[in-house]
C-alpha cells in the first residue's frame, strides 16, 4: 500500500491493489469535528429535563450500571429521542443535498417541492379515518412515494427537466396541503387534533421501535447516498456535459429521486414533516467545505443531525412551554430561506 501525499493541499491519495481513492481530508476532518460536537451535544441533551440527571449518572446509565430510576429516564425516555433527532436530522439533510444537486438549484428541498406535503396528506387521512398509529409509517411512506412518482410522471416530457420538476412539485404540494386542510375541517375536532399535532413535526415520544426503523433505513440509505455523490458531482456540470462524460442521465436521476424520497419518507413517517432542515443544511456544508466532494455527504449528515438535535433541545428546554421541534426549525429556517431568495435576486 502506497500512501502518497497529494500535491494538492487537503487531499490524500491512497492506492492499493484493490482500490484507488483520493480523499478530501479537510472535509473528512470537518465531518469528524462536527460529529464530535454532536456527541457532546447529545450527552448534554440527556442530562436536561424536568428531572435533571448529572453527566456521570448519564454515563453509568448508558452502560446499564446506574440506579433504576436514572436508567429508566435515560435509556427509555431520553436516548431514543436523542437518537431519533440525530437520525432524522441527518437523513433530512442528505435528502436535501440530493435534491439540490439533482436540480442544480439551492432553493429546493423535499419539503418545498411537495413530497413532504404528499406524505402528510396520506398520514393525516390515515389518522382521521381512525386506522390507528401502528401502520402510520407505511401510510406516510406510501404518500411520499406516490407524490414523488406523480411529480416525476407529470414533469416527464421526453426526459425530466429540473425546472419543470420544481414547478410541478410546488403545484402538487399545494394540492396536497389543500387536501390536508379539507380533511381537518371535514372530520370532528377530537379526531383531528392528534393528527394536527403530528403535522407540526416532533420527535416527542420517540421509542426504541422508531430508532430501529431509522437504523435500518440509515444502514441502507447512507451508503447509497455516499455512493451517489459521484453522480451528483458530475451532474453539477450540466446535462450535456454529464452525458458527454458517459452518464446514463435518466437512470441516474431516477435513482437519485428514489433515494431522496426514501430518506425524507422515513423521517416523515416517524416525526411528521419537519421543515427547512433539508433546505438549510446542505448550504451550511457548502459554505464550510466548498463544492461537492466524496466525504461531503458525511459532513452534511453530521451537520443536519447537529442542527435538529440543537433545535430539539431548544424546543424542549429553552422556552417556558415545550414546542414541537418543527416550530423551531421553521422559525430559524424561514428567515434563512428569505435571505437566500434575497441574495439570489441580487445576483441576477
Amino acid at each position: 500500500m502506497a500512501l502518497a501525499p497529494a500535491r494538492r493541499r487537503g487531499h490524500l491519495t491512497i492506492r492499493t491493489r484493490a482500490f484507488d481513492v483520493r480523499i478530501n481530508v479537510r472535509v473528512l476532518l470537518l465531518a469528524a469535528g462536527v460529529t464530535g460536537v454532536l456527541a457532546l451535544l447529545a450527552t448534554w441533551a440527556m442530562t436536561l429535563g424536568s428531572y435533571p440527571v448529572p453527566y456521570t449518572d448519564v454515563f453509568w446509565s448508558l452502560l446499564g450500571r446506574g440506579n433504576e430510576e436514572h436508567e429508566f429516564i435515560v435509556r427509555t425516555l431520553r436516548v431514543p429521542r436523542v437518537l431519533c433527532a440525530i437520525g432524522i436530522g441527518g437523513m433530512l439533510a442528505l435528502s436535501g443535498a440530493i435534491f439540490q444537486g439533482l436540480v442544480r438549484n439551492p432553493l429546493v428541498s423535499p419539503d418545498i417541492i411537495g413530497i413532504e406535503s404528499g406524505a402528510t396528506l396520506f398520514a393525516v387521512f390515515w389518522l382521521v379515518t381512525g386506522r390507528g398509529w401502528g401502520l402510520l409509517p407505511f401510510a406516510a411512506f406510501g404518500g411520499a412515494f406516490l407524490t414523488a412518482a406523480l411529480i416525476y410522471v407529470l414533469s416527464w416530457k421526453g426526459g425530466v427537466s429540473p425546472n419543470r420538476l420544481i414547478l410541478v412539485g410546488i403545484g402538487i404540494g399545494s394540492c396536497a396541503a389543500a387536501g390536508t386542510t379539507y380533511l381537518t375541517v371535514r372530520y370532528p375536532v377530537e379526531i383531528v387534533r392528534p393528527a394536527q399535532v403530528w403535522t407540526m413535526g416532533s420527535v416527542y415520544g420517540s421509542d426504541w421501535g422508531d430508532v430501529r426503523v431509522l437504523g435500518v433505513a440509515i444502514a441502507f440509505l447512507l451508503p447509497l447516498a455516499v455512493g451517489l455523490t459521484w453522480s451528483l458531482r458530475t451532474l453539477q456540470l450540466g446535462e450535456d456535459v454529464s452525458r458527454g462524460l458517459g452518464m446514463p442521465l435518466e437512470r441516474t436521476r431516477l435513482l437519485l429521486i428514489l433515494t431522496g424520497c426514501a430518506l425524507s419518507a422515513v423521517t416523515i413517517s416517524i416525526a411528521g414533516p419537519i421543515g427547512f432542515v433539508a433546505l438549510m443544511t446542505p448550504h451550511l456544508a457548502r459554505m464550510l467545505a466548498g463544492p461537492l466532494s466524496g466525504s461531503m455527504m458525511l459532513l452534511t449528515g453530521a451537520l443536519g443531525a447537529t442542527f435538529l438535535l440543537a433545535a430539539d433541545v431548544v424546543a424542549q428546554h429553552a422556552l417556558p412551554v415545550a414546542l414541537p421541534v418543527g416550530v423551531i426549525t421553521s422559525a430559524v429556517g424561514a428567515p434563512y430561506f428569505l435571505l437566500l431568495l434575497y441574495r439570489a435576486n441580487i445576483r441576477m
Binding site: R8, T13, R15, A18, F19, D20, V21, R22, R104, G158, G227, W230, R233, T234, Q236, L237, G238, D240, V241, R243, G244, L245, G246, M247, P248, R286, G290, P291, G294
Partner: protein, 545 residues
Amino acid sequence: MSRLRSDTITLAYDAGPIVRDVALAIPDGRITTIIGPNGCGKSTLLRALARLMKPASGAVILDGQLIHQLPTREVAKRLGLLHQQPTPPGGITVEGLVARGRYPHQSFLQPPSRRDAEAVDRALELTGMQALRQRPVDQLSGGQRQRAWMAMALAQETALLLLDEPTTFLDIAHQLEVIELVQRLNAEEGRTIVMVLHDVNEAARASHRIVALAGGRIVRDGTPEEVIEPGLLAELYGVECDVHRDPSSGLPVCVPRSRLDVPPAPSPGPQPAFVVDHLQVGYAGTPVLHDVSALVPSGQVTAIVGPNACGKSTLLRACARLLAPTGGVVRFAGDDVRRGSHKALARRLALLTQGPQPPSGFLVEDLVAAGRIPHQSLLRQWRAHDEAAVEHALQRCDLCDLRYREVQTLSGGQRQRAWIAMALAQQSEALLLDEPTTFLDIAAQVDLLELVRELNRREGRTVVMVLHDLAMAARYADQVIVMSHGAVVAAGPPADVLTSDLLREVFEIDACLSTDPHTGALLILPNHALTPQAPQAAMLEPVRS
C-alpha cells in the same frame, strides 16, 4: 456636436472598477463603434451611456443635462438601447414586440394612436419584417429575431440608437444584413448610432469612428483606418495581425497571424472516423436533418459550417449520441454510436458542448479531473494514470498556473481552455466541439483554434467542430462539411469547397476570396449580403394620410 457624452466616468461592479475615467463624446449623425478584448468594459460603458448603470464617479450627459436626473420616459424618447441577447416574452408576436417600442410615447390607459401604428409599420418595413408580423417571436430564426428586436428599438423613434453586440449569434449573411440596416438608418435618417462589436472587421466595415477600449480605458479613438493597424491590434488583443486592404471597398481588414508554423495537414487515416448514413434527426417531432450522409476522416480537423439553423449542431450532437435518430445511423470507427454503454463511448469520444456553465466553487483542476469520470469506477477512483492524464491536459492547454483558480473567475478564453482540457483528459480518439469560439474575442479565438489544431497535429486526434465563423473554418480546418437546410451540400478541403459560388448560394453573401500570404490558407473577406433588401421607398418619410 454631440448630444450624448460621458464626462470622465468610472464604472464599477462589486468586484471593482470596470471602466476608468472615460471621457467620450458621441458625434451626432455618425456611427461610432466600441471595440476591445473580452472583459474590457465595452458593454458596461454602453449600459452607462443608456442610463442603465450609475457611474461611481463622473457623469453621462444627454442634451446638456445629467442623464440620471432625466425621467426614464424622457430618456427613452431620445435614446433606444438594444440589449445583448434579449429574451422575448413568451408567445408575443413580432408586431406585439415592436409595439412595445412605443411605450415611452404612450400614456397610461390611452389606446395606441395612429402615430404609434405608423411607427410600428415603418419599423417593420425598415427591417423587412412585414411578412412576419403575425409570427410568434420564439418561432423565428436567430437572424429574424434580431431584426425583430431591432424593429422594436426603431419604433421607439429615437435620434440615438445604442446596440450591444447586435450581430453575435448570427450567421454571416445576417450579420452583414444587420450592419447594412444600421448603415441605412444612419445614412438616410441621420440617426446617431453607438454599437459594441467584438469583430474588428465588422467594426471597420460599419463605422465612421472606432473607439478602442482596453482595461477600461480608451486606448485609441479615430477613423477605421487610424484604429485598425497592426500595432494597436497587438496592444488590444495581444495577437499579431496583418492588415489587408479589401480590394473592392478599400477598407482595412485585419487577419490574425498564426502563432506557430503550421505543420501540413496529416493524411487521413485508412478508416473514416465517422460515417453518417442516411441520418434523420429532429426535436420533438420536427425533423431537422433529413437523410444526411457524410464522412469524417480520422486524424484530421473537420469543421461543420452553414448558416443559422442549418442543422450543424444537430449533426454534431447526433454523432455524440446526445440525440436519438429517427432513421439512419452514425458509425464511429465502424460501430454504431448507439450501441454499448454511454461510459464506453465517452472513453472514445469527448464532447465540448456549446456555452457550458461551470458550477460554482469548481477549481480548474476539478473540472479537468472530471474528464476522467468515464475511466473511473467505484473502486478505481483515482489511479496514477488518471493523475497523469490530468497533468498532461493541464500542460497542453497551458493551465498549470491557473489550476487552483475557480473556473467562474476565469476570462472567457481561459474558461474555454479549461473545458477543452477536460475533454482532453478524457483521452479519447475523437474530440467534438460545438461552437467553441462563440463569445471569445479575436485573440482568444485564434488561441483556441491554434490549440485545437496543435492537439490534432501532435497527438493525431480526430477533431470535429461546428463553427459559425467561415473565415476561421477556412483557416483552421483540413476538411469542411457545408450544411444548408438540414442537408449536406458540399464536403472537402476548404480551398476546394468554399468557392464564391457556394458562398453566394449557401451563405447568401458576396465575398472576395484570396490567400493568406504567410500560410497560403484561404482568406474570406465578406462584402455584402445578397438577401433581398427592404424596398427603397421605406426609407422616405412615411406618408401621412
